[in-house]
């Protein structure tokens, strides 16, 4: 069922009238809802000019929002690189023929996938300093938390990708005399990485959203700078939250669109796997964390 329009007949004259009537009814209801929300915020004086004026001043952007955005992107970028490395290492580890490698690797992946990110960040930020006898910066506690969680999710994605490759690929590689490491490095990982590229990019969206948790350990990312600190200066917490939400939505929509574009591009070339099956398998791997 590729298009949803198979669910209903092509509208005839009566159906067209009915759809128009329903459109109008729901449209009016929606407008009413929007107006209700608007008037509620209006009663709370949230649309007054002085609350929104700071966003027209360059200082707001240069002092609060852009540094916050940069910190968010920095944590997300470093976290992505580290979790990619973590993911590849543990995916290969879990696929190893040696039980003493594959079992611990599997245990690590399963464990970190089950632990909430907030718990990890709290442990690294508050607990780890007691253990290693020196403070851990907010940046690294966010990045370490993101790496362990997203790395484990990516490890599962890579493992699924490697196992979904046709068996003939590794058989052919063994047949021409490659060793296990070579088969993995030269044959399996490159193909799996390409097939899993859309999932990797959608995981980047998850990771970018999760950096917002940094604000609870006072890491100066977008939510901390753009909402908390900005509102502390101008007293406009609701307008600030709305503006920051729009910024997040724009960035993540672009990444989501990019992931979809990659999926369409790579999807047409993978002939062996039925596309629908591949799509649903992919969506089960990515978890909608944070």
């Amino acid at each position: 069922m590729s298009t949803s329009s198979v669910l209903y007949d092509h509208p005839g004259p009566r159906a067209k009238v009915r759809n128009t009537v329903l459109s109008v009814i729901f449209g009016v209801a929606l407008l009413g809802l929007v107006y209700w929300i608007y008037s509620k915020f209006d009663q709370a004086n949230q649309w007054e000019g002085w609350l929104w004026k700071p966003f027209a001043e360059p200082k707001t952007w240069t002092q609060f929002i852009l540094p916050g955005l940069w910190a968010t992107l920095k944590a997300a970028g470093v976290g992505m690189l580290l979790s990619l490395a973590f993911g590849i290492i543990f995916a290969v580890g879990r696929l190893s023929d040696h039980k003493w490698i594959s079992v611990p690797a599997g245990a690590v992946v399963e464990f970190f996938r089950a632990v909430p990110l907030l718990l990890m960040i709290f442990f690294v930020f508050y607990g780890l300093p007691y253990v290693i006898k020196q403070p851990v910066t907010a940046f690294w506690s966010v990045v370490i938390g993101l790496t362990l969680y997203n790395g484990s999710v990516l490890a599962e994605a890579f493992r699924a990708g490697i196992r979904a490759l046709p068996g003939g690929q590794s058989e052919a590689a063994y047949a021409i005399g490659m060793r296990k490491t070579q088969v993995m490095q030269l044959i399996l990982i490159p193909q799996a990485a390409r097939a899993m590229l859309p999932i990797i990019v959608s995981q980047l969206v998850v990771l970018l959203k999760d950096t917002a948790l940094g604000y609870i350990v006072a890491y100066p990312e977008l939510l901390q700078r753009g909402v908390n600190d900005l509102a502390a200066n101008y007293g406009n917490i609701i307008p600030a939250a709305m503006v920051i939400a729009v910024i997040y939505i724009i960035i993540n929509s672009m990444l989501t669109w990019f992931a979809g574009w990659l999926e369409r591009r790579t999807g047409t070339r993978r002939v062996r796997v039925p596309r629908q099956r591949a799509g649903t398998a992919g969506s089960t791997v990515v978890e909608p964390q944070g």
Binding site: M1, L7, Y8, L22, A44, A212, V227
Partner: protein, 224 residues
């Protein structure tokens, strides 16, 4: 382990996980109902409803949950004065349920929509051929079949929801991560055991849940 032999700490530990389970349960119901409704809107013949569903999904899937929860507290409660309970914690709890449900509903909607796509075209065509309306086609023919293929994604969404419930701690509910933070701050000598107990409890709840949903999905899968 001396930390947890103190009954005060042990009670805090137990109640923190009860909050998590209660948040997960109520939000799962809310997100399921809302998500299926949104999915029905997104495949409906009425353009306004399709647009509404798409807008909801795009907004909530791309906003950090932390910001959604933050907005529930500062927007709904502090600014608009929406108070759901006299009790401080219960109020935060319900605000958290609203935030988690609206956010998770976007993911449920997408899972249901891709589930609908796995139902063969012939099923809906046959339903239309015998004269069923859109609502009947969806309710009697398509959704029951789609339900069997969305069990696995629902499992991952439920697991993520349970972990995401900790984020309600950021607006002041004493759930597991906040309690763990407090215990760590008061017991610097037992950091690793504290972490292992809290993380281990999550693992003990969620890893079997994952395997259960995997088993259920396999069992109920439509063999085609």
């Amino acid at each position: 382990m001396h930390v947890f032999s103190d009954p005060k700490n042990f009670d805090a530990f137990v109640s923190s996980f009860l909050w998590i389970l209660k948040l997960t349960g109520a939000s799962a119901v809310g997100a399921l109902v809302l998500g299926v409704l949104l999915a029905a809107m997104r495949v409906s013949p009425v353009p306004v409803l399709r647009g509404f569903g798409a807008a909801w999904v795009n907004i909530f899937r791309n906003t950090p949950l932390t910001l959604v929860i933050f907005f529930c507290y500062f927007g709904l409660f502090v600014t608009l004065g929406l108070s759901l309970s006299q009790d401080l914690f219960l109020n935060i709890y319900w605000l958290g349920v609203i935030g988690l449900s609206t956010y998770t509903a976007a993911f449920v909607c997408e899972a249901v929509r891709s589930g609908i796509n796995t139902v063969p075209t012939g099923q809906a065509e046959a339903a239309r051929a015998i004269g069923l309306t859109f609502a009947q086609t969806l309710r009697i023919v398509v959704l029951p079949q789609a339900a069997r293929s969305v069990i696995a994604p629902f499992g991952s969404i439920l697991i993520a929801l349970c972990k995401n419930a900790t984020i309600v701690g950021t607006i002041g509910l004493m759930e597991s991560s906040s309690v763990m933070k407090d215990l760590i701050n008061f017991n610097g000598d037992a950091v690793i055991p504290i972490f292992l107990v809290f993380a281990g409890t999550f693992a003990a709840i969620l890893i079997p849940t994952g395997y259960f949903f995997g088993w259920l999905a396999n069992r109920l899968a439509v063999k085609r």
